[in-house]
Symmetry: C2
Subunit: 527 residues, 2 copies
């Protein structure tokens, strides 16, 4: 053997040794011939489009995995996106209920109901700077009272007074209904200028981010809209190849407004409604002979990480009560909101330890599924939420963006089977990373940590379903291929909150769909 | 013990276990009381300035560790910077000779010589868009020929013709000599708009980056300027608390121009000149009773990673010839230029293996000290340079930006004592990371990999010395403290190319200086 041959053999061995540590090593080792062929086809497509689409114009600042909001239109025009779109993705494990559906869909739904009203805090003086709209469905009495109120752009409009939504839209003086829709939808989303220029830091963009929820919440809380919204979450997920969803729901003290405007829709009512919708969607799928495409949905009970311990105890009690009544629906407990600016988990430690003890006593299985490490902090309070999440036995970690910096905690995740719900596009738009190539995801994958890709708040980011996040991940790496995505999809089911039997069935069904998918790729119908 | 106490004990233990893996664990474990006090003082100062300076105006997009070019003025106004400035930093292990001194200093030096000429390729039509200037010292004949040439901004100027530098400056019509200086200096640096707007990708900013070397090179290659430049590299480093420098020098085929304009200054001449300057600076320091502040300088022979193998063989031969004549100066061999767009190490593998064999035969110790992994690539050719660098026994790794993604290679670095020359500000301006909080450095530090912080090309980035890079690192982390910086400084000497005796002496001197520094901090003269 020459020195060169020897070198090349050593090199191949070293690369193989490192690849063997990766999360997808087993999947790749067990690949069928057809799967190997599919890897070649899809990787060649990626390389081709890198040249012909992403790097076509040397003057443009474009590249694979670039800023999502700027790239979205280009992504939609790629063949690779079409391939990823059809991929059976398993479960969507990290999505916030109030930010799951297309913002246009939400506005359309709200427009169907004459009870829905809109108001603003300041007078509109031009179409260029519009205030944040507020929405609320009113009782019959109030509807009558505001029926002839001056519209939003009328000189007679009194800030803070309600206007029927349809009227406000029809009489919108600064560009008509199209401009009205753009305004309302824009107030529920983040646009490129906001993310990449005006609020180009994590703390600043969260300010804008938070306002999108205030706008949408006024419509989503209305029972008939809520029901449409729940249905749409499931139907649109199914269309994206997602067969199971786990929804983080904020159980505010007052959760919803009845069809007649009464503010009496409670937590039980909400879960009953959700259960109905799940059954309805399952029925619909069965009727279409597509029952394999939808396994179901579950709920992670969440409250906000800025309340105090007394309030938290109320929510923890409420969570246990709901778990007792809806054992099949409630899958876990979590605290949400920006980690950098709010209370760390350690602040709530006594309440959380009590909850573990108490739920056990009551025979309730409510694991924590904590957001932790969604931060650029290094060794401070937000980053240290990872220690508490793991010590409190979190079932998975939401985001875990800073986990890549923690070798020991990554090891714990592997040993304990804790998967990380990585939200690539969310992290990018909320300015934890500037692009996919800068995202620390490869650190987790190369260390063999289990990951489930998630969209987080697709209505705000525009990354509906999972296709966009899968796309950004495969396009930004040379070592991540279609079989890596297979493993990511599988892990999303394996680490879901489905019970043993359902999980087994879900994985079996998914494997069948996967094989059909590979068949389609290699027979070149897709790529 | 209550459940709460037990939890807190477990938590402390977990955090301690992870901190024990860090690169600075030993240093922190062995800290003296004074050092512990210094940690408190400096960390408190950092926290105070985070609030009072970085986060003082909620409307501004400012934060600790933000984009260097935008932050520089603010950094200079902090007390923390003054503390870091005084820190004895050990060695500067990664700096490119042609980009080491303040660009203004270079222009000032060039202005001293009437032989220095300037030209441009196109006519200047306005002061807003100025072409790239070119510089060259001319022979006496040519100087006479161009003595009365029309100046750059004259209507008679013929593009491509030389103008005496002083004349061009004095007669610069678009804003006079100040505007002239801004133009020339600006063409040797990267400004915030270029880095963060116009060329906001790694590939694009390298285009601008490369032009700065073409401009500066025309002046630096001139023997008398060269000598001033070499001296200034050492003197300015000493003023920044650096006691040793290791310079990467591109040995172009034609290296320099003599005082009289003859293009005959060869590689031997260059090294003789450098040796002279080192001795001169040592003499000067001794005369000032400051000999402990300067240990010396060495050279890493570099050529460009876009030449072919035949050319490389010429340079490898040249490197061995020089090593034989200047064994104390030549410390290693490296290939430079952007990894993403040029040839990977594996392309040169036969030549590099030959060099290892051949230099061994000749009894020459010339380790590779390779740039590798200065890329956002994941698993492609540029990222894979890390495999080859390590398999070829690299003494250190230049940049190693993508090393954080490689658990096995990090392990190899630890086992083999390979330190990583991390260049935080360079990486940020060349758009591998958008800010320090996004930089993967903590992954290396938390895994216990040895790191030496380096400025890379300070004349282009404006991060003269090591203070700015040390500052960006300590300000962007809660877990990195003044003792972490101590360990970084120590590692820069331990992993230097100094021989055993010199290294021992260098570390001893440095420790003495460190103790004085701590003394100064705790006696509150500094912080």
């Amino acid at each position: 053997m020459t020195a060169l041959d020897e070198y090349k053999a050593q090199r191949a061995e070293l690369i193989a040794s490192e690849r063997a540590l990766r999360f997808d090593a087993q999947t790749i080792a067990n690949a069928t011939d057809k799967e190997k062929r599919a890897v070649e086809i899809v990787s060649a497509l990626r390389a081709k489009e890198a040249q012909e689409i992403w790097n076509a114009d040397a003057e443009k600042l474009m590249y694979p995995g670039m800023e999502f909001l700027t790239a979205k239109k280009t992504i939609l025009g790629t063949k690779l996106y079409q391939v990823v779109k059809k991929l059976p993705k398993g479960g969507l494990l990290h999505g916030h209920m109030d930010a799951m559906c297309d913002a246009k869909f939400l506005l359309q739904s709200a427009l169907e109901y004459p009870q829905m009203h809109i108001r603003i805090d300041t007078v509109i003086t031009s179409g260029l700077t519009l205030p944040l709209p507020q929405f609320k469905p009113l009782t019959a009495d109030l509807c009558a009272q505001y029926a002839n109120a001056p519209s939003l752009t009328s000189p007679e409009y009194v800030p803070g007074s309600w206007v029927p939504l349809t009227k406000a839209r029809n009489e919108f003086a600064h560009g008509g209904s199209e401009a009205f829709d753009n305004w309302v939808v824009g107030s529920m989303m983040i646009n490129p200028k906001e993310a990449y220029v005006d609020y180009n830091t994590s703390v600043k963009i969260w300010e804008k981010f938070a306002t999108t929820f205030r706008v949408a919440g006024g419509m989503i809380r209305y029972e008939p809209v809520m029901k449409q919204y729940m249905r749409q979450v499931m139907l649109s997920s199914i269309e994206d190849g997602i067969s199971y969803v786990e929804l983080r729901i904020n159980f505010f003290y007052k959760l919803g407004i009845r069809e007649d405007g009464a503010e009496t829709l409670g937590h039980q009512d909400y879960l009953r409604l959700l259960r109905e919708v799940i059954q309805e969607v399952k029925g619909k799928m069965k009727a279409e002979n597509r029952e394999d495409e939808f396994i179901g949905a579950k709920v992670i009970y969440t409250t906000l990480r800025f309340i105090d311990n007394q309030e938290l105890l109320w929510y923890l009690e409420d969570c246990m009560t709901l778990k007792k009544e809806f054992p099949d629906l409630i899958a876990g407990f979590d605290l949400v909101a920006q980690e950098d600016t709010n209370k760390p988990l350690i602040y709530y430690i006594e309440s959380l330890l009590w909850f573990q003890e108490e739920s056990k006593k009551r025979g309730l299985d409510i694991p924590f599924i904590f957001h932790a490490g969604e931060t650029l902090d290094d060794g401070g309070a937000a980053d240290s939420n990872l220690y508490d999440a793991l010590l409190l036995g979190t079932k998975r970690i939401g985001h875990g963006f800073s986990l890549a910096k923690h070798p020991l905690l990554m090891k714990m995740c592997k040993e304990r089977g804790v998967a990380i719900e990585v939200c690539p596009i969310s992290n990018e738009i909320l300015r934890l990373t500037s692009s996919m190539p800068m995202h620390p995801l490869p650190v987790l994958l190369n260390n063999g940590v289990s990951v489930a890709l998630c969209p987080d708040d697709p209505s705000v980011f525009g990354n509906m379903g999972l296709s966009f996040d899968f796309f950004q991940v495969i396009v930004a790496s040379e070592v991540t291929n279609i079989l890596s995505l297979k493993q990511l999809a599988r892990q999303s089911l394996e680490h879901s909150s489905l019970d043993v039997e359902d999980k087994k069935r879900a994985v079996e069904i998914w494997e069948k769909r996967w094989n059909a998918y590979i068949e389609e790729i290699v027979s070149s119908k897709t790529a």
